[in-house]
């Protein structure tokens, strides 16, 4: 009796349940993505954080062992940032950092790893088949120009240094050390 009704109700129920599952799963995925992003991103600038850099570097060095290629690690430190915080307050300092992040994302490729490494320190990790020192220098000089132009009112600039693996370093620690050292030298030279 009433078999057609029962089958129809069951089919409609199945359709509803499927829709609900799809909705639930997409919601879960969104939440996971959100949670993942919160875990790997710097809250203020939206750039990657240090934890993500560590994880990503492990994988990048793993790839480097299997395939030819280069890891170019750039260490960038803002010059005069302390002056912004001291003179205009931390809110303005945060605004400056957001603008710097914006310049970073418009300078490098979407798949380059841009990291807020510390307060006003940034790291960019680039994986590329080829390494052209002139190209890198041009990109970085333009980047500094953009920073100085955009944040001129705060007399902000940037110092940088970079290293290349496997040419100059075999692991991440060495590569960071090298880039940091070179950045420091540049900063000292600029002060003179």
């Amino acid at each position: 009796m009433r078999d057609k009704i029962k089958i129809k109700i069951l089919k409609n129920m199945l359709e509803e349940v499927t829709k609900k599952y799809d909705y639930f799963i997409s919601l879960q995925n969104e939440k996971m993505k959100e949670t993942f992003n919160l875990a790997i991103r710097d809250r203020l600038t939206g750039l990657y954080n240090r934890q993500f850099l560590d994880e990503h570097a492990k994988q990048a060095f793993g790839r480097l062992q299997r395939h030819d290629g280069n890891i170019i690690l750039i260490f960038i430190d803002l010059d005069n940032f302390k002056y912004v915080n001291d003179s205009f307050g931390h809110a303005k300092g945060d605004e400056v950092l957001k603008k710097v992040a914006d310049i970073f994302t418009h300078t490098f490729r979407s798949y380059d790893i841009i990291v807020r490494y510390g307060g006003d320190e940034f790291v960019v990790l680039i994986e590329d088949d080829k390494y052209d020192k002139d190209d890198i220098e041009n990109i970085l000089k333009n980047f500094v120009k953009k920073i100085e132009h955009t944040l001129g009112e705060f007399r902000i600039s940037a110092s940088y240094g970079y290293g290349v693996a496997p040419l100059e370093a075999k692991n991440m620690e060495k590569l960071i050390e090298l880039a940091d050292e070179r950045m420091y030298i540049q900063k000292q030279n600029r002060k003179r």
Binding site: I5, I9, L10, N12, M13, E16
Partner: protein, 379 residues
């Protein structure tokens, strides 16, 4: 205890006389009589007739559309369950004439709390759809545990001469908007609940409900829209009885077990109205059953009951009218399942809502589409 159910030939005073003769000759003098009367009968007239013909004050009567005498479903007649105690058992009566009165909730709560050692059998009126809320509210005020001593149902009825008859009669009073409680002392009893519907899919949350009306679920989705879609492709989309195959299963907040069922009564554009209340924050799943599922669960329920009270001397069953729709032409199979297992007198009623404990005996619930069975034996 000795018990038996007798049924009249039809709904008339003459058949009531015949019924009295049958009880007198086959049963003898009873300690208590319970009359199930079709709502076509005027309660005032028939209760007076019962008193005159049976010459007793120890009785109660209630409206019910269909009831059953053992495995026989009876329509448009009067049945009486005669009870005679052989040891120290007894029945006490309690009633509330109007559940909407201020003091009724406190009175009922106090009565059950003060008589937690007795087994209570409730027969209630529809009371404009408020009985479900009333039951679930006083349930929260019961101060003893486990709550395994209360069972009941809402009299099924219909509109006759402009009144919706789901009345009870006791103590020379017609109860039109209340409930009657028969409290049994010195009895071994057990009550069990047969749902039979299996929950499917993901859990929904009720975000807007008022009384028996459900407006929104989850993040504000219109429930009425969703439930209407469940009727798509069915010829008569206005016949909500098709949805009785798929009631909502309300889940326990603590451990997710099936708490109760809710059956759709009508659907408007803004809400779906159920036969019992729903609460904001309640969680539910859609469920489904065929008559085979229901009878299989009845069988399990009957076996559990007989394990608790072997060789019962009387049994009762409250089975929802909506459940009868799902049972289709197999209604008598459900009853036969109980009769075969209990092997004793069975007096049962098709009800407009059932009252009984939840699965864990933590609370009293108001059920839809459920079959509640009770077995009793005098201590």
């Amino acid at each position: 205890m000795i018990s038996a159910v007798f049924t009249s030939q039809n709904l008339s005073r003459v058949s009531l006389v015949d019924l009295e003769h049958e009880v007198a000759s086959k049963f003898g003098e009873a300690d208590y009589l319970m009359f199930a009367i079709h709502p076509n009968a005027d309660m005032q007239e028939y209760s007076a007739a019962i008193r005159d013909i049976f010459q007793t004050e120890k009785f109660m009567a209630f409206h019910v559309l269909d009831h059953f005498n053992n495995n026989q479903i009876k329509e448009e007649v009067i049945s009486v369950c005669a009870i005679k105690f052989e040891k120290n058992a007894s029945i006490n009566e309690f009633y509330i004439e109007d559940i909407s009165s201020k003091e009724s909730l406190q009175k009922v709560t106090d009565y059950f709390n003060n008589n937690s050692n007795k087994f209570h059998f409730i027969l209630a009126g529809v009371c404009d759809g408020q009985m479900g809320s009333f039951v679930e509210t006083f349930s929260t005020k019961l101060n003893y545990s486990p709550i395994d001593n209360i069972v009941g149902g809402v009299s099924s009825g219909m509109e006759v001469d402009g009144e919706f008859r789901t009345y009870q009669f006791i103590d020379n009073k017609i109860i039109k908007n209340g409930l009657v409680v028969l409290s049994f002392s010195n009895m071994d009893t057990h009550v069990d609940v047969s749902l039979g519907f299996k929950p499917y899919g993901i859990t929904y949350e009720i975000t807007k409900a008022e009384g028996n009306r459900l407006y929104n679920i989850d993040d504000g989705k219109n429930f009425s829209y969703m439930i209407k879609k469940m009727l798509s492709g069915i010829d008569d989309k206005n016949d909500v009885r098709s949805l009785w195959y798929a009631p909502l299963t309300i889940l326990s907040e603590e451990d997710g077990y099936m708490l109760t069922l809710r059956t759709v009564q009508k659907i408007s554009d803004r809400y779906a109205e159920f036969f019992a209340p729903l609460n904001n924050g309640d969680h539910f799943k859609l469920s489904f059953a065929t008559y085979e599922d229901l009878i299989e669960e009845d069988e399990k329920t009957a076996k559990r009951l007989i394990g608790k009270v072997p060789n019962p001397e009387l049994s009762f069953n409250f089975s929802c009218i909506a459940r009868q729709y799902v049972l289709e032409d197999k209604q008598s199979q459900e009853i036969q399942t109980y009769v075969d297992n209990f092997n004793t007198t069975l007096f049962g009623f098709f009800t407009f809502g059932e009252i009984g404990p939840d699965k864990m005996f933590k609370r009293l619930k108001f059920y839809n589409e459920t079959s509640l069975a009770v077995v009793m034996r005098e201590k």
